[in-house]
């Protein structure tokens, strides 16, 4: 094999694939635009929230003791305060997930600019008011369809509270309850806010009536939450749960698949193109089939590698931005490239063999189906492998090429990587498999390139291997 010729073929292959506008736009610009769009989409979807409900709530308080609590609970200041708290908790939770601590108030303030809180005016009706009359009032507002001068005049709900809602009557029936009537098409949050306000008010009043201290009850009911820890060989660490544990293995798997598939797919296309263009025999006058195939595989490896480097850098930049660089290590990055090469060489062998055996893309489809199914397998194993990176299933599938590198990348990037000796053994098995795949591809490639006509089936392929 002539190294110079391989390099020649490889650099042409790389240049004709990666140095095209289509590739640069498709592979690099599109993800960059996507990354820029995600925050924009988040902002837009927040802004696209339905406008908050504003209006009046009538409370028919037959017990005559719950109304004050409801009024204060649903006052605009209280509602807004609760919504801010909720946003802050969500933001804290998200940051805790990504491991960034600190004051999150900036984010909450920003978020609150987008979130529109509902606004209520709570009015108590006369204790002997007719509930049907109020309902009719809502109905009238709906049928007339006239815009109200003051939006607060809009009737949102009527709450009918039982006389014994907070105070048990002397018979043994227990506490009464309440009945809410809503205007249709209110936001879910509005309904939730009103209902929970009423329930809270009734409950608090019951504590009072039973002679219990409200503060004491809330103190009794709350238990402070602390992060659980895992005890490991080296010490202890935060319990591996939530998105973070899944994030790195999944991202690694997807990245590995994208990088190998891109290189492999281009290899298939260029091989078919060379064959159908009949340029292949001209090339074979200057190179041997092995040199040609090696050059092409190496060239497309460059394409896959450049994708990998770009995407990896983006990923690492993202981790730095979230201050979670500890989630990956140099070792993982090195293994990433090792598993990429192993996976790519196996896939590329199959692609080169298919590309050389068929006459056009359409014929390639039928031979591609099994390869595509093969590439789907790691997706099916993703949940069980990430949940239990060292289970029997994970270990066994790690030793089955060509899916082995994909399973392994999930395992090594998980929080519970396999022991180094096993990693080494898997790599060794894959190296042997790579040689087998390349040997197979070389045989098919040599014979297939100059064969035109009916695309081969498995039997003819085996015949070719014997022939070469």
């Amino acid at each position: 094999m002539n190294m110079n010729k391989i390099i020649r073929v490889a650099s042409r292959e790389f240049a004709s694939t990666a140095m095209t506008k289509g590739f640069i736009i498709g592979a690099l610009v599109v993800p960059a635009v996507m990354a820029a769009l995600i925050p924009l989409i988040a902002i837009l979807s927040a802004a696209a929230q339905p406008s908050a409900d504003k209006g009046t709530i009538y409370v028919l308080d037959r017990s005559a003791e719950v109304f004050d609590d409801i009024e204060s609970r649903l006052s605009p200041e209280e509602v807004r305060k609760r919504w801010e708290d909720r946003a802050k908790r969500a933001s804290d939770f998200a940051k805790g997930m990504m491991g960034q601590s600190g004051n999150a108030s900036d984010g909450v303030e920003q978020a609150m600019n987008f979130i529109k809180t509902p606004e209520f005016r709570v009015i108590s009706t006369a204790p002997d008011a007719d509930i049907e009359e109020i309902k009719t009032e809502i109905r009238q507002q709906l049928t007339s369809g006239v815009e109200l001068d003051d939006p607060m005049q809009k009737l949102l709900a009527v709450i009918d509270i039982d006389a014994d809602a907070a105070n048990k009557s002397n018979d043994s029936k227990g506490y009464g309850s309440y009945q809410a009537f809503f205007r249709p098409k209110l936001n879910e949050e509005t309904v939730g806010e009103i209902e929970s306000g009423v329930r809270w008010s009734i409950r608090e009043r019951r504590y009072d009536n039973a002679g219990l201290d409200r503060d004491q009850i809330s103190e009794l009911a709350s238990i402070e939450e602390r992060d659980s820890k895992e005890i490991t060989e080296e010490g202890e660490r935060n319990e591996s749960s939530g998105i973070a544990t899944f994030l790195i293995p999944v991202a690694s798997l997807v990245l590995l698949i994208i990088a190998t598939m891109t290189g492999g797919q281009y290899l298939l296309t260029t091989t078919i193109e060379e064959k159908s263009n009949r340029v292949v025999e001209v090339l074979l006058s200057a190179t041997s089939p092995m040199e040609l195939m090696t050059g092409k595989i190496v060239g497309q490896m460059g394409v896959g590698l450049s994708l990998l480097i770009v995407y990896n850098s983006l990923g690492i930049a993202a981790l730095i931005a979230f201050n979670r660089l500890d989630m990956i290590s140099g070792q993982i990055i090195i293994l990433f490239f090792v598993f990429f090469l192993l996976a790519y060489f196996m896939l590329a062998s199959m692609m080169a063999a298919i590309g050389s055996a068929v006459n056009d893309m359409r014929e390639a489809q039928s031979l591609m189906t099994p390869v595509m199914l093969l590439m789907m397998i790691p997706y099916f194993f993703f949940m069980p492998v990430v949940r239990a990176p060292n289970s029997m299933l994970s270990t066994v599938t790690s030793f089955i090429p060509p899916i082995s590198p994909f399973i392994m990348i999930m395992r090594v990037s998980s929080t519970d990587p396999p022991p180094p000796l096993q990693i080494a053994a898997v790599i060794l098995v894959n190296i042997i498999a790579v040689f087998f795949f390349l040997w197979f591809a070389a045989k098919v490639f040599r014979v297939g390139l100059l064969m035109y006509g009916k695309p081969p089936n498995l039997r003819t392929l085996i015949k070719w291997i014997r022939m070469a």
Binding site: R8, V9, R278, E281, L284, S285, A286, K463
Partner: protein, 327 residues
């Protein structure tokens, strides 16, 4: 002088089909050899084995003194029958790439490519994409790719197919130029006239076997049909009168011309004079064997009969077909 190519009992099969059956062949350096034979005779397979693109099932082969062409690829120029270009590549870039693949240094390669393009009147398309070229232009580009690296051995598989007469002449001149420079040239064709006009040595392949391997002059002597064509004044059948001339073995009429076969040992000049004495002649000539005739004689085993015309028709049909496809 050593030999450019030596083949010894080379055989190649594709499944049950025998493509090349035990060919022995020696081609000396500096010769111009023509491979002729009908479509599917095994010419391309033989050439592909010389190029080490295919490998023989049995037999020995050496190219430029090496065991196989793999070791001497950079000294061989090859224009395959199945030839193509990278459609999206620019013409000059494609030729530079091919030159680099053939082991040429990048230094001075570009001017060399431009020089060659100018020589075949393609200087103005250097920056065009290959797909914008006509088929004939692409073929000239491919010819440049095969000689760019100044090879010692040039193998051209059907180099003339698809060329117009002007470009055919241009290509013939370029081939003759390579020959004059001492290069070994081998080309295959199934159009016999082309072989006659360029080659000094003919190898004929039929059904995977070598059926002829000789210089053009020797072939003409050996396959002297000992026949005289006589066109008489008027359309009448003069066979009987001609038969009366001494030394005439038989007379038959083919396309309105009397084809006279002579007795062995009969001097042609004497026979012509005798015939002219018997009948009024408007044209009389000694028949020169064409490669076509030779080929047909070999294929039919010398017994010219009804088969003769059939084989000839087959042969001509074959060449016409390719010419049409090419044009």
């Amino acid at each position: 002088m050593s030999n450019a190519i030596e083949m010894n009992r080379v055989r190649k099969t594709f499944g049950a089909k025998v493509a090349v059956e035990g060919i022995d062949l020696v081609i000396p350096q500096g010769a111009v050899y023509g491979f002729i034979g009908p479509n599917g005779a095994g010419k391309t397979t033989t050439i592909r084995m010389v190029m080490s693109i295919l490998f023989p099932d049995s037999g020995q082969l050496s190219v430029l003194g090496k065991k196989s062409a793999v070791e001497s690829k950079d000294r061989i120029g090859y224009l395959p029958e199945e030839r193509g270009v990278y459609k999206k590549m620019k013409v000059a870039a494609f030729l530079v790439y091919m030159g680099r693949l053939k082991g040429l240094d990048s230094h001075g390669l570009k001017p060399k490519v431009m020089d060659w393009l100018d020589r075949v009147d393609l200087g103005d398309v250097a920056k065009k994409k290959c797909e914008e070229l006509s088929k004939g232009m692409q073929q000239k580009v491919q010819f440049i790719a095969s000689v760019l690296h100044n090879p010692d051995l040039i193998i051209l598989d059907e180099p003339f197919s698809g060329l117009d007469p002007v470009n055919m002449r241009l290509l013939r001149d370029l081939i003759n130029e390579q020959h004059a420079a001492g290069k070994t040239v081998i080309f295959s064709t199934h159009v016999m006239q082309q072989a006659e006009s360029i080659c000094d040595h003919i190898v004929m392949i039929h059904e995977g076997k070598k059926v002829l391997d000789d210089t053009l002059d020797d072939i003409r002597n050996r396959f002297d049909p000992r026949a005289i064509h006589v066109d008489t004044v008027g359309d009448a059948d003069r066979s009987t009168a001609i038969s009366a001339a001494p030394g005439v073995a038989s007379v038959r009429i083919h396309e309105g011309i009397h084809v006279v076969t002579l007795d062995d040992g009969m001097d042609k000049q004497h026979a012509m004079q005798a015939i002219m004495g018997e009948v009024p002649v408007s044209r009389i000539e000694i028949k020169r064997p064409t490669l076509e005739d030779v080929f047909i004689e070999i294929v039919t085993g010398g017994n010219a009969s009804g088969d003769d015309e059939q084989v000839r028709a087959q042969l001509l049909a074959g060449s016409k077909e390719t010419q049409e496809v090419g044009s």
